[in-house]
Amino acid sequence: MTCPHRPSWRRLVCLIAACAVPVLGLVSCRPASGLPAPSQPLTPTPDADFRIHAPDAEPRRLLRVPSLSSTILANGLKLIVAEDDDLPTVSVAFANPLARPAHRVPYALLGELTLATLLAAAKPIQDRDESAVVAFESAVGPRGTRLTLTGVAETLAQVGEHLRVVLLPPPLDDLAFSRAKATLSAGLATSHRVPSGMSRFAADVLYGSDENDQRLERAEERGKETLEQLSLEQVRDYYQKRYSPTRSALVFAGPVTLDEARAVVERELGTWRGHPQSANPPTPRLARPGRRLRRMTRSTPNADRLVVALPCPAATSPDYLGFELLAQLLERVPSFELAHTLRQDSGLAYAWTAHCFDTIDERTFFVQVETAPGEAGLALEALLGVFEHLADGKLTQTDLATARASFLADRAAAFSSTRGSAQALADAFLNNLPDDFYETLETRVNQLTPEALQVTARHYLREAPMAIVVDGRQLALGGHPLFQGISESP
């Protein structure tokens, strides 16, 4: 009589029953799970010759970019159209590089508050017109403001009307302003911004800052306090100076031609004029040389966290694509192989991400790893080993093909929807990329060689500054040579 698979209370009941009537043998403790014994053979499916080798993936085209066309309207507004007749929605993205965040605390959230006020002012008008429903998405980042509207394909005209109501609003009043503040404030309370707080700290270590730093990052941490300092007059002034058709772009995506889009825009925004005041862009901080290690003081009960931050090339840099492929390798290929070491054999590292982000400073690459308590040091050692591996030129053609496919897969996902297409093209505009950036992307990616990536890896992964932030309890940083000379601060 055995009682396997039992939680404690059931096991107790079973044992009591077993002891009470053992002689009679009337009570039999069947396995609590009720599972039968596995049947034999374990694998009844017959084997076959075709299973001996996994089929190879055939190299084919990996990205389909919709047909692109563009023009500049009389008021200076650039119009870009990504025509795709198979999609059931239509999206319009407004891209404004001048409406980017100020980099000093008093004005840090002014760009977001202005856009929120425009949307709040427009909402009552939109609510009155229930003939079409349009989804709004807004983003204010270091490269500017992007506002995306999406409706079902048949509502192109109404999408255009909604766009006009937002960009050419009624006078911005206190009601819209207070509603915008409430909405934005609530969003700040619940959002988990990227980069995360720990990454932001890593950026501070990389670029250098102190507790009195008044830059955007600090302002966002004190979001509500910052918002309270802003006035409606500042919002109106920001709108007047930064919102203008010149230097802005509208991207249409979906079953729409250039002529149709132009007709909508000329009808709704043809009278829009403006002469923006060109604000000086914030001066980016440059990374401090060398490698710096910091431990965070907060304690995490279940895991160690590790963030590595280093500068990465801007979208206009010749190194951009090469680094993006390295990032793919770091996130997807070695992380998977590291997973073999770090996770699968030991249950060590679970979450692992590696991405470049637009920040107010240089563009910054963050690798984030979550590990079991006390094991962040091993993960760091493994990660730095991969950096060396790439810089030493041990990249194979197979690795490169993987990185290419993975990089292009992300773009293919974006171009699967009108929203993704419009946003990708708007971001290209905000980053000053050429109009044919996506049309030529696959060709340019395929031209990259292992040698070119090795040069990029040496420059950015081996020779460039680096910040390492570890948050954990029992750090075991190991004896990797690269740890030598890293300064440690409390």
Binding site: H5, P44, A339, S346, G347, A409, S417, G420
Partner: protein
Amino acid sequence: MLALLGAWLLVPGQALAKEVGSEQAVVHYQLPNGLDVVLERDARQPRVAVVVGYDVGWRDDPPGLDGLAHMVEHLSFRSTRHLPKPFEAGQLLRRAGATDINGFTGPDDTSYQEVVPEGALPLALFVESERMAFSLERFSTKAIELEKNIIWREGALLHRSPEDQFNQDSVNAFFGMWHPYARGDDEAEQLNYADLASAQAFFQQTYRPDNAHLVLVGDFQLEPTRALIEQYFGSIVASALPRRAAVNTTVTTHARSFVRRSLARLDELSVTWPAPDPRSDDGVASKLLALQLLAKLQDALVRDQKLASKVGVSLYPFELGPMLQFSIATEGDIDKVLPVFEAELGALWRTDWPRRLPPLRRQLVLSEQLRRASLIEVARDHLESARSTHQPYDFRAHLTQLERVSPARMRALSQLYKADQAMLGWLLRVGGTSARLAVTGIEVVPR
């Protein structure tokens, strides 16, 4: 547009292959071994979403072995007879440019997915057929011990935030602690009792072609793909063990309220009702009602009265009892939120439905089209529909059903969603101000 709204065709068995025309956007058939197959061609990108779903979820965990379904899902990733290196299948897929590689153990089903370049579709089918037919023999005691550790850490790292625990509290309180959906804090302890034999038997009862669905959505050629499916999956033989019987516990009771006191960032109130089947007319009407109430709550609680930071709504499609849940998070005084919620709920039944229904319908259609921009989401719609109705998902029929929702039906919903019939959940920050903070740990008040 045609790809999304196209017709589907049921083809029972391979004998009717000649009836499958290339014009059909969606094709549905079963292999002789019982595998249910749904194929939808969608050429927006040269990629294919591959989803394999098994009709087994955590509700089917054997008594005393909570977490076994999740563990078997993990074990099936490790290796197979013909892909014997650790995690070789995943590496091959990644090297081929696959994304969205993942496995999910849900309350009612377990599914595996990847999105691959069209040239890697044979590899993806090979990998999934290996999982179904040849992964069991690679299970080992060592692998089980490693996965116990990994699952514990997965839970510790990803699923144990106060908000996640509060969500599980909702399920436990709603269904009752003895319901198969309920999960206690001792899942890791229970998994310690899992052994090789139990994992093997559970796999044999559930990971089998007559308990599975294969869904492909993307840019592929129909006939060659059908031939590949036949090659890789047609020869798979189910275990001699009988299929595991589905758990079908009905929902008879749920709690009136519960409270969790925790180290959360924000206080949270959840309001939960039993909901109709999401595919029924009342289920569709409930979605429209949820959109209307959500908009009113956002305006009142977030924008105007500034009482809340966030308002959300979810319709959980649990097969043994769907539930509709609103959640409101606040940095402020949580005790002031409920009266506003009740006032907005009361006002809901005075809505001018003839005027509001058309824009609500359009809003729902748009949100579903935005979601279905992802190939995986389209595939998951088919999987869910195939599991519950034995038919592929028909978006056009869904639109027709939406048009059928009448003002009278919306008014009739007032009988389903009464304030005094809701279950209330309170997640309270330590150091918050709610009068309910006298509660320590979790307190459940039965109905």
